[in-house]
Subunit: 217 residues, 2 copies
């Protein structure tokens, strides 16, 4: 399709929708955090998790509770607990954190914890040993079915995204996650954010797979 | 040029050179470190820096000496000092380190320290206040004039590179630095390494600037 025609169609679309057709995706930084099962919440805090404030994805919330992570080499205090309770507890850390704890942690998507390392969780009143559940969360983009249609992608697709920032990068193999429960946002962790010069204003766009060729810039 | 012709030429080149024409660049991780002026070395250690072991770039070496970095918010101990002495002291940290120290540190290339934050350096016997000199080192590729010719780039070019790893990325705006003193290596810091799943086997290739378009993967 030639560019003028694309421009014309975009113009008509904008008029029809009454708003700009946005092609950028906000990028949010995920700090280390813990999801707890009801049993582990009971063992650590003597009861269910309690709501402190909502998070960007609908239904997810920060809890009043905080935990200590105890690894073979180090300890990390005051780690956020997110609700609601899940069927299995899960601990999400960065590679930097995993080194501080002394654990070798694979990169996984949330929920995929088979064969991951365990860890000890502690509060001021309880302690729990997890046999598995520590992951470095794989980066991903949450979007609604409407967003997916707009971007021409579907659930479980892997895409490349270009991120603005002081150290601009293209993240490859970014997982698309589509659900009517999701707000549009890309999630990366602190290592990825620091390594790419992320700021709260950072946005990304889906790009073509870069070609492996020399460039004479 | 069609692909068969390129293949033919590459084959002839390989025969002529008697070896594989390597198109990958090794990637090395730079940990936080300090370069000291002779005056600051004297103030901290009572004398010149002493050689411990050589580094990957010719003439650069790790020193026996170590320093403490003291920022407004935090302290980092046991930081490496690299020799030889320079005309001005310079401290290279990651963005993670800069947060721990409580400093807002710009991304700069080595030597470009005008207007950067200061810091306090301490040893067991001395203390020095730097008025400026703390940077987050901009990623760069060291190469010889021969390598530059082979890759079709020149000193101060900015290129995109594709890095292999568990979290594959394309780093954009990577500075080419050409000198007959340099061995071929890309240098990134720990944030960039952790964010991209760097391993000691990671390599990069120069790629074309990714196009800002949707991809229907």
């Amino acid at each position: 399709m030639d560019e003028k025609l694309v421009e014309l169609i975009m113009g008509e679309l904008k008029k029809k929708l009454g708003e700009e057709v946005k092609t950028t995706i906000p990028v949010e930084l995920s700090a280390k955090h813990v999801h707890l099962s009801e049993a582990d919440s009971l063992a650590l805090f003597g009861g269910p998790l309690t709501y402190k404030r909502e998070l960007s994805q609908p239904g997810q919330f920060l809890c009043d509770q905080r935990v200590r992570l105890i690894g073979p080499k180090g300890v990390i205090d005051n780690v956020a607990v997110l609700g609601p309770a899940r069927s299995e507890s899960q601990v999400e850390v960065s590679i930097s954190d995993s080194r501080a704890l002394g654990l070798k942690v694979p990169i996984r998507q949330s929920g995929d914890i088979a064969g991951t390392p365990g860890i000890v969780l502690a509060s001021s009143t309880g302690i729990v040993g997890l046999e598995q559940g520590v992951i470095v969360a794989g980066r991903h983009i949450h979007m609604s079915p409407g967003d997916a249609e707009r971007f021409g992608v579907k659930d479980k697709d892997l895409v490349c995204v270009n991120m603005t920032g002081t150290r601009p990068v293209v993240f490859r193999d970014v997982l698309i996650r589509v659900s009517s429960d999701f707000n549009l946002a890309m999630h990366i962790d602190f290592d990825e954010g620091n390594g790419s010069g992320w700021t709260p204003a950072s946005e990304c766009t889906i790009v073509k797979q870069p070609q492996a060729e020399f460039c004479g810039v």
